[in-house]
């Protein structure tokens, strides 16, 4: 009997489900960073706002990368609904703490997907997810470095100014 399932629905249902869940998480991240950007922007932390606007764009790209993968595999990609994001923060430092928390949660989720791929012996998706694993190493690094800046500089007015000068300079360098 012809294997129509394999021809037209390349991934296992369980893998489709976890990828759709990740699409939702990336969409939520994008929205959450947008809220952080707005908080920073209004309070005059322009560079921090730029930082989060860029992060928001990145998360949207992650979402689309997963979305296209599901479509390419002829599987159902679900356009996600996004819940409320946190809009109120006590301080600039708190915003960056939330960002790091967020990235750690995303890393955990990505690692769980890789675990699922191994469980179902889905070598192709595991390979596809490798990019996300690397990306999370970088995102976490940047979020952590930002927080460390507060430890070094403190949080008074001058320190926050110096933080603003440096936030866009943080780059992950593998070398």
């Amino acid at each position: 009997m012809k294997d129509i399932l394999r021809r037209h629905h390349v991934l296992k249902d369980e893998i489709v489900d976890v990828l759709n869940r990740q699409i939702k998480m990336e969409a939520h991240s994008s929205a959450a960073y947008l809220a952080m950007a707005a908080w920073c922007d209004v309070r005059g932390y322009d560079n921090s706002a730029d930082f989060f606007f860029q992060q928001s764009d990145e998360e949207r790209k992650h979402q689309m990368k997963l979305f296209h993968y599901l479509c390419d595999m002829e599987c159902d990609a679900v356009s996600p609904t996004v819940g409320e994001s946190q809009h109120d923060f006590g301080s600039l430092r708190e915003v960056f703490e939330k960002a790091l928390e967020h990235e750690i949660a995303v890393s955990d989720a990505i690692h769980e997907i890789v675990g699922e791929c191994r469980k179902y012996n889905d070598i192709a998706t595991e390979e596809f997810m490798r990019w996300f694993v690397q990306e999370q190493i970088e995102e976490e690094y940047v979020a952590r470095r930002a927080l460390e800046l507060f430890d070094v500089l403190g949080e008074d007015k001058i320190a926050l100014g110096m933080f603003e000068e440096r936030i866009l300079e943080i780059k992950y360098d593998e070398g």
Binding site: M1, K2, I4, L5, R6, H9, E74, D76
Partner: protein, 111 residues
């Protein structure tokens, strides 16, 4: 060529190798589904909360929309349960066939 995949008391699903599609035979009718449409159909059938439908205040029939052919099925609880069995059986059989074909594929390169 058509091959029956799964059959319940009053419905069956066959695979049409020529068009890569599936045929639902039910109530003297034939409805064709591409694989993605069959997934959509399964999702709506599995989406019903059976316990809720058992409550006396629930309506006697449920309406299922088939967007790929813009048709509606009006189903009783008994029919919903039968379609559940039919679709579970169908997808289990397809998965089993996939597993068998994977083993057979190894013989494609027989050197």
């Amino acid at each position: 060529m058509q091959e029956e995949i799964y059959k319940t008391k009053s419905a069956s699903i066959a695979q049409c190798e020529h068009t890569d599609s599936f045929l639902l035979m039910y109530d003297q009718e034939e409805i064709a589904f591409k694989l993605c449409d069959l997934y959509v159909f399964r999702k709506s059938i599995m989406g019903f909360d059976i316990m809720e439908l058992l409550e006396s205040s629930a309506p006697d029939v449920e309406i299922v929309h088939l967007p790929h052919c813009d048709r509606f099925l009006v189903l009783s609880l008994r029919e919903i349960l039968e379609f559940r069995e039919l679709l579970n059986g169908t997808f289990d059989t397809l998965a089993l066939n996939s597993a068998v074909q994977r083993i057979l594929r190894k013989n494609v390169f027989n050197f």
